[in-house]
Symmetry: C2
Subunit: 200 residues, 2 copies
């Protein structure tokens, strides 16, 4: 930028620009918003960011992000220890929690197998999952990876890893999303919905 | 959020959510991105935010945001001291700087007159502008407020304030934006383009 923009401003703009989905224009807008806002705004965000990684870690059991280890879900006595839902990311775990109907525990893989991005099974918490299933005598593993190519490949790999351990392996149903319109549904989803049709 | 989200995470999500155009979903996405990224990312942003307001102030002459006072533009010997472009916000100043053709100086009002938002002339740097015009013996004031109701009201007020000071007052031209299509131009813009037509 020109001489009109002092360094303390460009530094914030550059830092914001590194966030996903934040282009240089949005980054400028956010920065100048903070310049107009009370200083508490920027200092509060700065403090929160400083604590973000310093005060959190992976749960040694399920690899969700947590302050206490084990995490509150793994430590909760009222959650079913027999069932593990396997998700790619912590945000996927939160999506399942929001349904309010799952009372089991989780295992966060921290990614999906993606040859394009150079992510193989060893980069994910898959071995830790099979160790855990062995040790905890899990009854059911629900594979809740994303419904796409990488999620499918990961699901298949996890299934193979757990085969022979005696655990029941299930996968989230595929089909029509609620509220959708058949006319606008893509063919793969419709194909899956046909394949997975159930008798009424 | 649920027990699955530790406080250091919710604090960052909440702080991001206070930014304009950032909803809770985007705030979560940004936060979990930072959790995955090297700690330098979040610490770098935190440091930049801490310095943002602490190391900047208003230029005592033009009220642009600056580290040194007067700001580099006011201090630059090669900029025309006779001409002042009056803008609403620092980002408007940057837009004019990007054209590369304006060699005068600026005056940042820090807003526009807006009765709806309770912003009157005294909340803006208008009095400071007329003092400055008087003191510096400015030759031309280019009013470059936004082309809308609030910008127009502000322009009219500034014009009245400066009337009688002997300074030439001009305003940015209104008309068709470059690259547009006449068919899609709104009527007010087209009306202004007709009124402002020039002989070839």
């Amino acid at each position: 930028m020109s001489q009109a923009v002092p360094e303390p401003i460009t530094k914030v703009v550059e830092a914001f620009s590194r966030l996903p989905g934040v282009g240089p224009k949005t980054a400028s807008r956010l920065t100048y918003f903070l310049l107009r806002a009370p200083e508490d705004y920027s200092l509060g965000l700065a403090q929160a960011l400083t604590n973000l990684k310093a005060q959190t870690r992976f749960c040694s059991r399920c690899f969700n992000i947590t302050v206490a280890d084990p995490c509150p879900i793994c430590a909760a006595a009222d959650r079913d220890a027999d069932t593990i839902a396997v998700v790619e990311e912590p945000l996927d775990l939160l999506a399942i929690e929001r349904t309010g109907i799952f009372r089991g525990r989780y295992h966060v893989l921290h990614g999906a197998i993606s040859p394009v991005d150079g992510i193989g099974p060893d980069d994910l918490k898959i071995r830790q999952l099979s160790d855990r299933v062995q040790k905890e005598g899990t009854r059911e593993v629900i594979i809740a990876t994303n419904p796409g190519m990488e999620g499918d490949a990961t699901a298949m790999y996890v299934q193979r890893e757990l085969a022979g351990s005696g655990v029941t392996i299930t996968r989230l149903a595929r089909g029509l999303p609620s509220g959708g319109d058949l006319e606008y549904v893509d063919s793969i989803t419709l194909m899956r919905a046909l394949e997975g049709r159930s008798e009424l």
